[in-house]
């Protein structure tokens, strides 16, 4: 296995969703979802895409997994073009999307895996054992013959993962694999993803959580509004805030417009607002804390300021800075 081999290569990829056409009424506008993104993923790597809602993560994954045709630019997966060699590529990749849907609820877990094994032409003599091994792997052996409609959310998600592995893919795409899972199951899922990666699988995943990306990914791309804002190891993302400081203000009340005013101050690159019990906290990524603190204090005049602290930036702050519009 060549660790430096490039398995996925994306160059200037663009996706514009055409305006929807309806029989009645005007169809709406076309939508630029992914805007000239480029990156490479190496064999065996876990590559993450992190970004807010609507950033273009799912769109990117679908273009790479043969489900969407790009508007322009090039994408290569295992040396093939996903939009032209789709049938050949499909037997070597798989896609798992987070969420409730995507399984046959009236069938049992085993019947679901059987069906998809047939769809992938898994050799007959191997099928039975492979399905059983996958059920063991995701811990569903005991519920294998129960209908999926009786599964809990976490069991469904594990079955999804097993489904994504029936063809022993070389490249696995995971769209928000821990969506809606409780912390315990989410952690188990991450452990499984790491295990697959150690066994040589190349994994591309999307997530909303910086800590998840930090824990799982060898490298990640931060995407916002269809544009990649930064790419590299999770640690290197900290470079974005290397020269920044954090001001944390707690007050009885901080309004949305006050948040916007804070964000507009010179030297402020991102502000996030969090409501705690009976009070609110604003976390500001700033260049020079000392000169800004008096301004922030006066901006919040009359709001019962509880505390103003200065802190070191974290990865989360780096992420917020990169995806903030400023």
């Amino acid at each position: 296995m060549n660790e430096n081999e490039i398995v996925i290569s994306v160059k200037d990829l663009v996706k514009v969703y055409p305006a929807a056409t309806h029989l009645l009424g005007d169809g709406g506008k076309e939508k630029l979802a992914v805007d000239r993104i480029s990156f490479d993923i190496h064999r065996g790597e876990i590559f993450g895409m992190l970004g807010p809602n609507g950033a273009g993560k799912t769109t990117t994954i679908k273009m790479l997994s043969t489900l969407l045709i790009p508007t322009s630019g090039t994408a290569t997966v295992l040396g093939m073009d996903p939009s032209k060699d789709s049938m050949k590529l499909r037997s070597r990749i798989n896609l798992v999307s987070g969420g409730e849907r995507g399984l046959y609820f009236r069938l049992t877990g085993r019947q679901n895996l059987d069906f998809f094994s047939d769809m992938y032409q898994v050799p007959r003599e191997k099928k039975k054992k492979r399905v059983q091994d996958l059920l063991d792997l995701v811990g569903l052996t005991d519920s294998a013959d129960i209908r999926v409609e009786n599964y809990s959310r976490g069991m469904k998600q594990r079955l999804h993962l097993a489904r994504g592995l029936v063809n022993e893919p070389e490249v696995l795409f995971l769209d928000e694999p821990t969506l809606g899972l409780d912390p315990e199951i989410a952690r188990e899922t991450r452990a499984l993803i790491k295990k697959l990666s150690r066994e040589g699988m190349t994994i591309m995943l999307t997530t909303h959580y910086m800590f998840e990306a930090d824990e799982l990914c060898d490298r990640l791309a931060i995407i916002s509004n269809g544009v990649i804002k930064g790419i590299g190891s999770p640690y290197s993302m900290k470079d974005a805030v290397r020269n920044d400081t954090i001001i944390e203000v707690e007050a009885g009340e901080i309004t949305q417009s006050q948040k916007e005013q804070m964000k507009a101050l010179p030297g402020v690159s991102a502000v996030s607002l969090e409501s705690l019990e009976g009070r609110m906290m604003a976390r500001m990524v700033v260049m020079d804390a000392a000169t800004l603190i008096p301004t922030v204090a006066s901006l919040l005049e009359g709001q019962r300021i509880i505390s103003i602290k200065v802190d070191q930036p974290t990865l989360e702050d780096a992420y917020l800075k990169m995806v903030s519009d400023k």
């Binding site: 769109t59 489900l67 969407l68 045709i69 896609l95 995507g102 046959y104 998809f116 769809m119 992938y120």
Partner: protein, 261 residues
């Protein structure tokens, strides 16, 4: 393009769905029962060919819509269920999956017909004698397959839109009438003939009636002639539906409409 193993798996899956989900029992078993019972109440005093015609039209052929509908719905179901993408991302063509399900639906159509005859025979004590029972069964199987294929043509539109069901509902009734399944072709105006002739079910109905009634041959081509045209038109529709699937899949991959329900 068509993969036999996938066809088989889809057929098996459809069968499993059928048995675990009692709601299918209504259109598949109970409805034909009621249909036939009502028909027999209305016509049981007539006897002879007219009664047989009523059983055929009201009972056996009355269930055709069921076959078309379940076949056209097979992709709609995956769209609703969120499994359309999971199937799309496999190296199996959607048409293989749909074909497998359609074959099962055809088989259910056969059971419907059997139910109709059983009701007539045992509940009403009517002696249903067909002129050519073997010929009848062959024609019935082929007709049901042709109806499934027609369902596939409608069903392909589910790849791009859920509005497909509207299309189906719009076309179901004309197919009924034009095929001469329920009413005789003779009562339709002359200009509708070309439409009737391109529908495989028209030839299926003809073959079925020839196999049922002595001396029946309304189109003058005989049993085998009707069967040959049935097979030919079915193959044409199959080819059309396969082309349609490929075309609409590509379209959905540009517009991104695979997942929205």
């Amino acid at each position: 393009m068509i993969n036999l193993r996938a066809v088989k798996a889809a057929l098996k899956q459809q069968a499993t769905h059928f048995f675990v989900d009692p709601q299918w029992v209504i259109p598949s078993i109970i409805a034909p029962f009621i249909f036939t019972t009502v028909t027999l109440f209305l016509f049981s005093h007539t006897g002879g060919d007219l009664l047989l015609y009523a059983i055929l039209g009201g009972g056996v052929l009355g269930m055709w819509g069921n076959t078309i509908q379940s076949s056209s719905w097979s992709i709609g179901y995956d769209r609703m269920n969120g499994t359309l993408e999971a199937i799309m991302v496999t190296p199996t063509s959607l048409s293989s999956v749909v074909l497998g399900r359609c074959l099962w639906n055809s088989f259910i159509g056969l059971l419907n017909a059997l139910a109709v005859f059983l009701v007539a025979q045992f509940a009403f004590g009517i002696d249903v004698t067909l002129r050519d029972p073997a010929g009848f069964i062959i024609a019935l199987v082929l007709t049901l397959i042709s109806l499934s294929v027609l369902g596939m043509v409608f069903g392909a539109f589910y790849v791009v839109t859920r509005a497909s069901s509207a299309l189906f509902q719009m076309l179901e009734f004309p197919v009924y009438v034009l095929s001469g399944a329920v009413y005789s072709l003779a009562i339709l105006p002359e200009w509708t003939r070309p439409f009737s002739y391109v529908i495989p079910a028209t030839w299926g109905a003809e073959a079925l009636k020839i196999a049922t009634f002595t001396g029946y041959d309304s189109l003058g081509i005989g049993y085998w002639g009707a069967l040959a045209i049935l097979a030919f038109t079915t193959v044409i529709f199959l080819a059309l539906s396969l082309r349609l699937f490929t075309y609409l899949e590509e379209k959905a991959k540009v517009s991104g409409t695979l997942v929205r329900y």
